[in-house]
């Protein structure tokens, strides 16, 4: 039995309209990763996170709570929760993420900045105007709330004079590159993922890693946005050997993430099935999407190390002084403390 669909979607829709995100985070949680990076404000080309990496610790906390409520007596109070959420940010309070996870995902963001800088790419950042792009609202068919929000994003991008955005996750990429041009008039920005930008810039590796991994392709990158070869080429040039899982590239299998809020139990089953497939190729898994990372890790035994592709690329292409370090962020190994993210 799912969490009550109507009230869960109602909260997401209310939040997007009122608080500019399906899962609103505080300014500190959204922007603390930028500390000390001196990212210029605005500009013709901007890095656009769409808040996805920042959101993952909160999504994990929310999913954990929802999985306990799924099918229980607490489900009957979702209508009341929606009413309360209209008055104050209940979803945000329910989803206080683990600070350690927040540190890890901040590290990925900082590594992406370090990678673009290593490739001599110039870009700015929109800070509080780097809004969530609305992917979950689109997937769930909340088109009325989505359109109003997308217009808000378009206005902000215009006000900042942005002509090109560099995205860092599949969901935001798909929204800005494929969905927005269909639902907004005159939305014609150039949208590329940082993986495409790096592939074109071809930075020289500073170190060859001599490590083996398998890649879990994101459904959206592989089947909607054509991002398949770029991460592979970058990893291979950095010395990484890739053992392909049987279902890879355009035939990749979903991590279960898209239904983690409504069907947490089923979502975990799909993730466990995918982890089994990946483990047959390698004990080290590289993900291209923060939601895939979170969902697969939730279902994986400790010996399977799952980490974001930026972690491997940063070790191969960035000097140690410019990137985030620590075993969790570098390889996905768990149970070890990370060293502080450099500022």
């Amino acid at each position: 039995m799912p969490t009550p669909i109507k009230h869960t979607l109602g909260m997401l829709s209310d939040n997007l309209r009122k608080r500019k995100s399906v899962l609103p985070l505080s300014r500190r949680r959204l922007l603390s990763w930028t500390k000390g990076l001196d990212l210029p404000r605005g500009g013709a080309t901007v890095l656009y996170t769409g808040q996805m990496y920042q959101m993952v610790p909160a999504i994990n906390a929310m999913t954990e709570r929802l999985s306990k409520m799924e099918g229980s007596w607490m489900s009957s109070y979702f209508g009341l929760a929606r009413s309360m959420n209209r008055l104050f940010n209940l979803a945000g309070l329910m989803a206080r993420g683990d600070p350690r996870e927040a540190r890890e995902y901040s590290g990925y963001l900082r590594n992406i900045v370090a990678l673009l800088r290593a490739a001599h790419v110039e870009f700015g950042y929109l800070y509080e105007d780097d809004l969530y792009a609305g992917a979950l609202a689109h997937d769930e068919g909340l088109d009325d709330a989505l359109k109003a929000h997308a217009q808000r994003v378009q206005t902000l991008l215009r006000e900042h004079g942005v002509r090109e955005v560099i995205t860092i996750d599949p969901h935001t990429t798909d929204m800005l590159r494929t969905v927005y041009p269909k639902i907004l008039e005159g939305f014609d920005l150039k949208v590329r993922t940082y993986l495409e930008v790096l592939e074109e810039a071809r930075p020289e590796p500073v170190k060859r890693l001599s490590e083996s991994v398998t890649i879990h392709d994101s459904c959206i990158y592989a089947r909607r946005e054509g991002v398949i070869e770029q991460p592979r080429d970058l990893l291979r040039r950095g010395g990484v050997t890739i053992h392909e899982v049987e279902r890879s590239a355009k035939a990749t299998q979903c991590c279960g993430g898209p239904i983690e809020m409504l069907f947490p139990g089923k979502s975990r089953e799909v993730a466990a099935q995918r982890v089994d497939q990946l483990a047959k190729a390698s004990q080290r898994v590289v993900t291209l999407c923060p939601l895939c990372l979170a969902n697969l890790r939730r279902a994986a035994p400790a010996e399977i190390e799952i980490a974001d592709v930026s972690a491997y690329l940063a070790r191969a292409y960035c000097p140690a002084t410019t990137r985030a370090t620590g075993s969790t962020i570098e390889t996905g190994a768990r149970g070890e403390l990370m060293t502080p993210v450099p500022t």
């Binding site: 799912p2 669909i5 109507k6 979607l9 109602g10 829709s13 209310d14 997007l16 309209r17 009122k18 209209r86 689109h138 997937d139 769930e140 068919g141 909340l142 088109d143 009325d144 709330a145 109003a148 459904c219 089947r223 909607r224 355009k250 035939a251 299998q253 979903c254 279960g256 898209p258 239904i259 409504l262 069907f263 089923k266 799909v270 099935q273 995918r274």
Partner: protein, 104 residues
């Protein structure tokens, strides 16, 4: 079974719904990672027939689709399966759940 001839048209209002080309071959069902029992073949037939009640009975099924496009990528008839599922969600959000955002 009650039939509403305007149902398919209402579904298409939010986002285009296109399932006429479906060959009923079952490729989509075979590939579905979540093992959805009737998506999308039977469900789409209900829409085309105007069997609104049958569609509404499957609300959980409609929302459990991952939209991963595994089925669509391999559909020999080129049916836009995920956009069809989204069209049903748009209809459910607007008409059944009244999920217009609340102001204030």
């Amino acid at each position: 079974m009650k039939v509403d001839p305007s149902f398919a048209e209402r579904v298409s209002k939010g986002t285009p719904f296109n399932a006429e080309a479906c060959l009923n071959c079952g490729q989509c069902t075979a590939l579905c990672p979540i093992g959805i029992h009737l998506l999308p073949r039977k469900l789409f037939r209900y829409v085309l027939l105007g069997a609104e009640e049958k569609v509404l009975e499957e609300t959980d099924t409609i929302y459990s689709c991952l939209l991963c496009k595994m089925c669509e990528e391999n559909c020999p008839a080129g049916v836009h399966i995920t956009e069809n599922v989204r069209a049903l969600r748009v209809l459910l959000a607007r008409e059944e759940m009244q999920l217009a955002p609340v102001e204030g």
